[in-house]
């Protein structure tokens, strides 16, 4: 049974844990015992909240070094936005604690392998098996127009590939943009029931280092590797006011990458639904945003601040950019491709 998701922006989720009041036998005549009803549905046990995670998970006794208030872990980079979203860099988090806090969750990964892009799946999935959410339950949702060409690769326990057959489009820009529509459709139809979090990734990439539960939050975006140093005026936001993706020159926090975003299923549903709707509005107005779905993603994340931001460790291109010392790890990197060859065939 799927919770009905109402129009974008409205309050749609009913209370998760309802409380029943029972009289109890106890010394104090005024005390009552409150019985917590077990949440029945997966979507209700990981309810999204606008600003807080709403989970205070219990962790067992763990051994780990103590943090020191007077010794920041990174002094070369910003590790928290002005609205308190952590910016995830190596050294800022302890996986032992986080894995304990995020045990018993299932992560959905969406990836699109349409037309020639199926060729990227093998390396993508093989490296994901080594580095992505290791130790946690993962559903790989592979959207493809050629189910027969999805490679069979050995998977660790608790992980499965779900092949979702979808249509293709003639133009690569349309393939890219319609990912939003497809993710929003499937979020409502099945992801809500099957996973707690969604991670929406580009396929022409590979994992080269740990990508774990430190990224999970109600809503997260990733810093685009080409713009993390830049001023907002230089960000390649859509600058034509006619487009729904328009951002004026004096606004903007970061330039987020279209190839790595995610969050709780309800928040990803809201984001993808909103982006799809405004892209349709643009189409009706005869305009296409300069960077397609990425432009719309950037507008959405400007006005709906993410609860976590991933550093460029989480999306890098070694062939285009020289690796600076502040990047201690490269976790998810571009696989070289011949753009002309691979697109629009």
């Amino acid at each position: 049974m799927v919770t009905a998701l109402g129009p974008y922006g409205s309050n749609v989720f009913s209370l998760i844990s309802t409380w029943q009041r029972e009289e109890s036998q106890s010394q104090d005549t005024h005390s009552v015992v409150l019985q917590r009803m077990q949440p029945e549905k997966k979507e209700s046990s990981e309810r999204d909240c606008h600003l807080d995670t709403c989970r205070i998970p219990e962790v067992p006794r763990l051994v780990y070094p103590k943090a020191q208030l007077l010794k920041p872990t990174r002094v070369d980079v910003l590790v928290m936005t002005p609205w308190f979203a952590p910016i995830i860099w190596d050294g800022t988090f302890d996986s032992a604690i986080l894995d304990a806090q995020f045990r018993n969750i299932t992560v959905g990964l969406t990836v699109f392998a349409i037309k020639k892009y199926v060729v990227f799946l093998k390396l993508f999935l093989e490296t994901a098996e080594k580095h992505f959410m290791v130790g946690h339950k993962v559903n790989y949702y592979v959207f493809t127009d050629q189910p027969a060409n999805v490679p069979q690769i050995p998977l660790q326990e608790g992980r499965q590939v779900v092949v979702l057959e979808v249509r293709n489009y003639k133009r690569w820009q349309d393939i890219s943009m319609h990912r939003m529509e497809m993710i929003s459709n499937f979020s409502q139809q099945r992801f809500l029931r099957e996973v707690h979090y969604l991670v929406c990734l580009d396929v022409d990439m590979k994992f080269s280092d740990h990508v774990g539960v430190e990224i999970l939050a109600p809503l997260f975006g990733t810093l685009h590797p080409g713009f993390y140093r830049g001023d907002r005026q230089s960000f390649t936001y859509e600058r034509r006011p006619l487009s729904q993706a328009y951002i004026p020159r004096d606004e903007g926090d970061f330039y987020y990458a279209g190839g790595f975003f995610g969050g709780s299923v309800p928040e990803v549903y809201r984001l993808t639904m909103a982006c799809h709707q405004v892209m349709m509005a643009d189409q009706a107005n005869g305009i296409e945003a300069v960077w397609h779905d990425e432009s719309h993603l950037n507008r959405y994340l400007l006005y709906h601040k993410p609860s976590k931001v991933l550093s460029p460790e989480y999306l890098w291109d070694e062939h285009m950019l020289q690796r600076p010392p502040l990047l201690r790890k490269l976790r998810y990197v571009a696989v070289p491709k011949n753009h002309a060859e691979i697109r629009n065939r």
């Binding site: 208030l69 002094v75 140093r229 926090d253 601040k305 976590k308």
Partner: protein
């Protein structure tokens, strides 16, 4: 009968605004840690943009509750506490103070701003101050169950013998919020005054612990504060049955629980200071601090 918490609000879009772009490549060393290893923000001056936060939180029409206990001679602190709160605490928000006391007649009438209320709730006094101190968790959890869950979204549980000196705003809101004790923030965990006797449910072993949190400030979403205070109360009851009282009473139990249920936000000692200590340069702004007082006399 179902307890319905105040309605949940969806993710609200932030209206466009002019504010400086966040500087990703910080060259100056920041003095305080701003994130715990489990990625909870540590709130201090300079880590947040008050205007931006205000615009994120304002449209949500939140009500923030505060519990204070003014029992016996502690009623004398209420006036100063409330007057300073009126000046600095959650300006622009709806606020509901819950003042628990064994002597309602001793609670002064303090003038409150618009959208701000105070309720005086009679509780039993006790002859021993330790009794008073160990009943607060129980009282708070019952109070949430009986009425506060309907009236407020967030709740802070504060000591009354304190005063606000600078703004305390929505930067402090979170699912479950703890404050770092001013006496132990520069000290290794082995020296934290945890309860060290294994018989107590508040026992913390030598190699455990993140920060030593102060019992004078904690809070969060009202449902999470309910879970937290109930959990502490259960531990206190178990200890009572075993004839043991933890070294720092409720603060010991609070610290035990914050290890296994890590706070989602941590307040720096700006939010819980001891005026008897000299203010270190790393603390830019003291917002809430103790009143110097003669503790022996108060507890007699």
């Amino acid at each position: 009968m179902k307890l319905q918490y105040k309605g949940e609000k969806p993710f609200q879009p932030v209206t466009p605004s002019q504010y400086p772009q966040p500087k990703l490549l910080e060259q100056k060393p920041t003095e305080l840690l701003t994130l715990t290893p489990w990625l909870a923000p540590i709130v201090s001056e300079g880590t947040f943009d008050p205007e931006l936060l205000h615009r994120i939180y304002q449209p949500l029409n939140l009500t923030v509750g505060v519990t204070v206990f003014a029992v016996g001679k502690y009623t004398q602190f209420v006036q100063h506490f409330l007057e300073s709160a009126e000046q600095f605490f959650m300006q622009g928000f709806r606020v509901h103070y819950y003042v628990f006391t064994n002597d309602p007649t001793a609670i002064p009438r303090v003038r409150l701003g618009s959208g701000r209320l105070a309720s005086i709730i009679p509780i039993q006094g006790h002859s021993r101050w330790e009794e008073i101190s160990t009943r607060r968790m129980e009282t708070i959890s019952q109070h949430i169950a009986e009425r506060a869950h309907r009236e407020i979204d967030y709740l802070f549980c504060l000591d009354v013998d304190m005063v606000f000196r600078n703004p305390w705003g929505p930067e402090t809101l979170g699912d479950l919020v703890a404050a770092i004790h001013p006496g132990y923030f520069a000290v290794p965990r082995q020296q934290f005054p945890y309860e060290r006797r294994p018989l107590s449910t508040a026992f913390v072993a030598g190699g455990e612990g993140d920060f030593y949190y102060g019992g004078a400030v904690f809070g969060g979403r009202v449902a999470r504060v309910y879970d937290f205070t109930r959990g502490c109360h259960m531990g206190i009851l178990a200890d009572k049955a075993n004839g043991i009282m933890a070294a720092w009473q409720e603060e010991s139990h609070l610290n035990r629980r914050f290890i296994s249920h890590k706070p989602s936000k941590v307040l720096s000692p700006e939010y819980l200071w001891d005026d008897r200590k000299p203010q270190p340069p790393s603390l830019k702004l003291i917002r809430f601090s103790t009143l110097d007082k003669d503790t022996d006399w108060l507890r007699s």
